[in-house]
């Protein structure tokens, strides 16, 4: 044990948040910065809501999609008040629950959206804190059993460094310009993020029922979170020590349980929506709209340009290809990452936000918030510099090229789509290529191969 860093032999090895060790004090210590952060975030948003920028931001195609635009929600509300189905006409595409929610709180919309962001941040904060505790416990056991090869020691995480990670996650979410823009534009994406965050929180806490219910809510909102089913089940099984083995009855029993809860609550939600509106109008108008992509307004996604250029008779085929793309990665990823379900959740969120039909920057903000959780693996990231430069440049080029295309008329859609493509390539590059691979290489507790050693060396 002589080669171990000091902190591993130290008494402080115990995770500081253990309730047995002055949990009360700790709670006060950590709650203060979080509260400060929340106050800061709410202040920024409130200030922006009051400024003239809010209207401008609410019009940006990068921030709002045809589904999440607040303007459309208001239109739906107006139709509802007139006693017309909000889905008549082709403007409103949000789910019935959202419109009934805003039916009651439309006067407090700004507060609702700020609250949604706060809930997301707090849920992520608590979830990551809990997750870190588990990682640390696992690491401790592995250390005591001497299962780490020596050259992996630098990857072992100290309590001090993990202490700040939950706060960083909350900060990454709340102070991310993408989240702020999305909130100021009153994009309903913020509410979806809150639901997903609550799902992650309840999953990590190990509450099967709540996890299924929130996942079902998220699915109900935008279909795509369906793929989060796999990591949630994997995680809960890991937590309940059920082996992932197709021949075990306990495995199938758990899956059946979870799916029953999930599908049951989905059934309840769908019926509830039906009874609220008294018709099935919303099915084609929400889910049909998401899946068949009739609105080709430019956005930061990959669909619009492709389908605007395509001959009509290929449309169905490529629609299937593009949509399957979102769901398909679940299978290989869950096979490969079955030991790391939380990382799998992160990957799935990234995949969804890149390949979904109407992505906005709010979706990106959600998965970006998870980046600090795996900060100890940054040294393995390749081309971090390149990727972050490209992301930065693209985010500023979006409005510039939009201006040149739509207002000045001197550029055209190709310019804008080129940036969209670059942005997505950078996004794929960020978590996809490097992190997944490195996580597998570094965290699966196999002895280090010589090959890995060469990769341990610094890469930029």
């Amino acid at each position: 044990m002589s080669g171990l860093p000091g902190f591993l032999i130290d008494d402080r090895l115990h995770f500081p948040s253990c309730p047995s060790q002055g949990g009360q004090r700790f709670l006060v210590e950590m709650a203060a910065p979080l509260t400060l952060l929340l106050v800061l975030a709410v202040t920024i948003r409130a200030a922006l809501f009051r400024s003239s920028l809010a209207e401008l931001i609410a019009e940006r195609v990068e921030v709002v999609s045809p589904i999440t635009a607040w303007k459309r929600v208001v239109e739906g509300l107006a139709l509802l008040d007139l006693g017309v189905s909000p889905y008549s006409g082709d403007v409103f595409h949000e789910t019935p629950l959202i419109i009934y929610l805003f039916h009651f709180v439309v006067d407090y919309a700004e507060i609702t959206f700020m609250l949604a962001d706060v809930i997301t941040a707090v849920a992520l904060y608590m979830a990551v804190k809990d997750y870190n505790k588990q990682v640390f416990r696992k690491q401790k056991f592995a250390l005591e059993a001497d299962r780490y090869p020596l050259d992996c020691l630098e990857l072992i995480r100290s309590p001090k460094e993990m202490y700040y990670i939950p706060l960083k996650v909350a900060m990454f979410y709340l102070l991310n310009p993408f989240t702020i823009l999305s909130c100021v534009a009153k994009s309903t994406c913020g509410l979806n993020n809150a639901v997903v965050a609550l799902f992650i929180f309840s999953t990590i806490k190990g509450n099967t029922l709540l996890s299924a219910i929130f996942l079902c809510l998220a699915t109900y909102q935008s279909i795509y979170p369906l793929t989060l089913c796999a990591p949630a089940m994997l995680y809960l099984m890991q937590r309940q020590y059920i082996p992932v083995n197709f021949r075990r009855a306990s495995f199938w029993w758990f899956i059946a349980q979870y799916l029953f809860m999930y599908l049951g609550s989905l059934f309840v939600l769908i019926c509830l929506s039906f009874f609220l509106l008294g018709s099935w109008d919303y099915m084609p108008s929400v889910y049909g709209f998401i899946l068949s992509v009739p609105d080709l307004t430019p956005n930061i996604g990959l669909f619009w340009y492709f389908f605007a250029e395509m001959f009509e008779h290929f449309r169905l085929f490529f629609l299937c290809v593009f949509q399957i793309n979102v769901f398909f990665y679940t299978i290989p990823l869950s096979v490969k990452l079955k030991e790391h379900p939380v990382f799998l959740i992160f990957m799935q969120l990234a995949v969804i936000s890149i390949f979904k039909s109407y992505p906005t920057v709010g979706d990106i903000a959600l998965y970006m918030a998870f980046l600090p959780v795996w900060s100890h693996l940054y040294r393995f990231l390749r081309n971090t510099f390149l990727v972050s430069c490209v992301l930065l440049a693209c985010s500023t080029l979006f409005p510039v090229l939009w201006h040149l295309w739509i207002y000045a008329g001197s550029a055209n859609s190709n310019f804008y789509y080129a940036i969209t493509l670059l942005f997505n390539v950078a996004q794929v590059g960020q978590p996809g290529r490097s992190q997944r691979r490195l996580l597998i290489e570094s965290l699966t507790e196999t002895p280090c191969s010589p090959l890995r050693k060469s990769q341990n060396e610094k890469s930029y």
Binding site: E161, Y378, F385, C389, L392, A393, L397, L404, A411
Partner: protein
């Protein structure tokens, strides 16, 4: 991506880039400048050609006969103008009605944020008069505009005369498929702004105008005419519009084609075309022409009344008659025929002009440089910033195994003792310099409103100088690592900023890059302070503008003394501010809110302790 995914090869590449960083940067800078200068060399440029099918040939028979009468009408207009000492609205309405147009007027008024000393105006009140010739051949869904400004003094009377003459002639033709709007605008650009806002029902600048009573269809193209003498030697084409926007190149091609056909001498930037491109003087002539275009575009001002049309997606240009001492003269009839030909071609358009280029530079009227050719010049300059940033990144990352992410800013707390500059040490200078920039943007107007003294320019100048003076006193104390992180952020910031600027207005981006990139590349806290502070001031945006003013005068072959140059410089600044408040030009806010803070960041790095 093979190069980037193989760790060994990538490391070799990065080693090479860091070891040879300085020489590569110097080479890039030289190459960028050389590339740019090469753009004016004729074999490297493309010949202009008409892309739009509907305007393909110049096979139009021009028959405009009444140049003499037009000149006489111009004289009559001048007399009436003198009588009412301003726009002779009633006379114009009567005359236009007599020519069979539907005539309307529009009143407007505007108080400038501060008195304009160049044009001596503060509270502007005026009236635009326009007449619509309805298209006999097609529904009234599209329109063309011919405008002439009514300027005080003896200028532009012939332009109004010719406009009225053309209106009378056009009225008798049957082939018009688009409405033609004849507009005489008061107070040049302010009147034009009022009319365009009225026509499109927008109000972007807070001007008061009465709504338009009559409208044509959506405007497809517009020409603005400036003519101050009965005969001219050559016709000059002005393309540069608001924020450096240019009309479609086909409009320039159309003008060139008709000038060739009718045999009128045509110029761009007041420079005739020369055929001796292989001689030194021929090349320098082309460089001068192109540099004039670059300077004008970079200023972001509308250089003629057409400049405001471009914002509404309308292709427009100003045609100016120039009368010099040459023997060969062109009379008003010929100019009328030129315009008739152009309008008949524009009348044939089936869709808006979009086939040809929107991003171009013109070293002569028959040659152009497209975006694909000139962007590498800027790219070579911008890549220096990225190389320097990469170098810093490597320096930051190598000694302790910590990484400092540009956006993520993740610090590994385990290595906190070695060095990890807090976010604060980067955030503080960023916030302070942006606040200074905001002060620079707000204060000139605010001060002016408070102090009743009518010297806005000196106010502006005082603000600029005090801002610099105040800022030099502030030096941020930080670690060795701290300035590197700050410089990395500043370099990336500058690169993104210049890149976006160059996309919207290439000339402005390039000129700023020419001076800011070397400043950004060499600054560290370890270079000799006084000398580098001097160099940094020389390379600041304000000094760039000063040099540009002198250079522009030099290019126009009107060199000025230093004192005159200084006065010109001050008036240019006040014009820039006025352009922003009157027409929404973006150059002043860009410089004040973004470029200047960015420069301050480098200043800050120099005085890092």
């Amino acid at each position: 991506m093979g190069l980037l995914s193989d760790p060994n090869r990538r490391r070799a590449l990065i080693n090479l880039l860091t070891r040879l960083n300085a020489p590569i940067c110097v080479v890039c800078y030289m190459a960028g400048v050389a590339w740019f200068m090469g753009l004016a060399f004729e074999p490297f440029t493309l010949r202009t050609y008409m892309s739009e099918n509907a305007m393909g040939s110049t096979m139009v028979e021009e028959r405009f006969p009444s140049g003499e009468r037009a000149v006489a009408t111009g004289r009559e207009f001048a007399a009436h103008k003198k009588k009412v000492s301003g726009m002779p609205v009633e006379w114009l309405v009567k005359t236009m009605q007599a020519r069979g147009l539907e005539v309307y007027t529009q009143r407007f008024s505007r108080t400038l944020p501060f008195p304009d000393e160049n044009k001596e105006r503060y509270m502007v009140k005026g009236t635009n008069v326009y007449g619509i010739l309805r298209a006999p051949r097609a529904p009234r869904t599209e329109a063309l505009v011919l405008s002439a400004p009514c300027t005080p003094g003896d200028n532009n009377n012939q332009a109004v005369g010719l406009l009225l003459g053309l209106a009378q002639y056009f009225r008798n033709q049957i082939y018009w498929a688009k409405d033609i709007i004849f507009l005489v605008n008061d107070h040049d650009l302010i009147g034009m702004q009022a009319w365009l806002e009225g026509y499109h029902h927008t109000n972007t600048t807070g001007m008061d105008w009465s709504p338009l009573q009559g409208r044509g269809g959506s405007i497809q193209a517009a020409l603005s005419l400036e003519l101050s003498s009965d005969v001219v030697t050559s016709m000059d084409l002005v393309l540069e519009g608001l924020n450096g926007q240019l009309p479609n190149l086909d409009l320039a091609n159309l003008f060139y084609a008709f000038c060739q056909k009718i045999g009128v001498l045509c110029t761009i930037q007041g420079k005739l075309q020369r055929n001796d491109w292989d001689s030194v003087s021929g090349y320098s002539h082309a460089v001068q022409t192109m540099m004039l275009m670059v300077m004008k575009q970079a200023s972001g001002r509308p250089w003629g009344d057409h400049g405001l049309f471009l914002r509404y997606h309308i292709e427009a240009a100003t045609i100016k008659g120039i009368n010099s001492f040459r023997q060969y003269k062109t009379d008003a009839t010929t100019i009328g025929r030129l315009l008739e030909g152009m309008y008949r071609k524009l009348n044939n358009l089936l869709e808006r002009l979009h086939q040809s280029y929107f991003f171009y530079l013109m070293p002569s009227l028959s040659h152009f440089v497209s975006i694909g050719y000139y962007m590498p010049a800027f790219g070579l300059l911008a890549v220096i910033l990225l190389l320097r940033a990469l170098d810093l990144w490597v320096q930051l990352a190598t000694p302790p195994p910590t990484t400092e992410d540009g956006i993520a800013d993740i610090e590994q707390v385990r290595h906190a003792h070695s060095s990890s500059p807090g976010v604060l040490s980067v955030l503080t200078p960023l916030v302070i310099s942006h606040l200074t920039g905001a002060a620079l943007y707000m204060l000139p107007i605010r001060f002016q409103e408070m102090a009743v003294e009518h010297f806005p320019v000196s106010e502006t100048e005082a603000v600029v100088l005090t801002a610099i003076a105040v800022y030099t006193l502030l030096t941020i104390i930080g670690t060795e690592q701290g300035w590197r992180v700050l410089k990395l952020v500043a370099l990336l910031y500058l690169a993104v900023l210049l890149g976006c600027t160059a996309l919207i207005n290439f000339s402005l981006g390039f000129i700023l890059a020419l001076t800011l990139v070397p400043a950004a590349a060499f600054v560290t806290p370890h270079v000799p302070k006084v000398l580098s502070a001097f160099v940094l001031v020389i390379l600041s945006p304000a000094c760039t503008l000063l040099f540009s003013v002198f250079f522009f005068q030099e290019l126009q072959e009107m060199p000025v003394s230093f004192l005159d140059g200084w006065l010109l410089y001050l008036s240019v600044i006040s014009q820039g501010i006025l352009d922003h408040f009157l027409y929404g030009s973006l150059v002043y806010p860009l410089i004040a809110l973004l470029v200047y803070p960015c420069w301050l960041l480098f200043w800050n790095i120099l005085f890092w302790k």
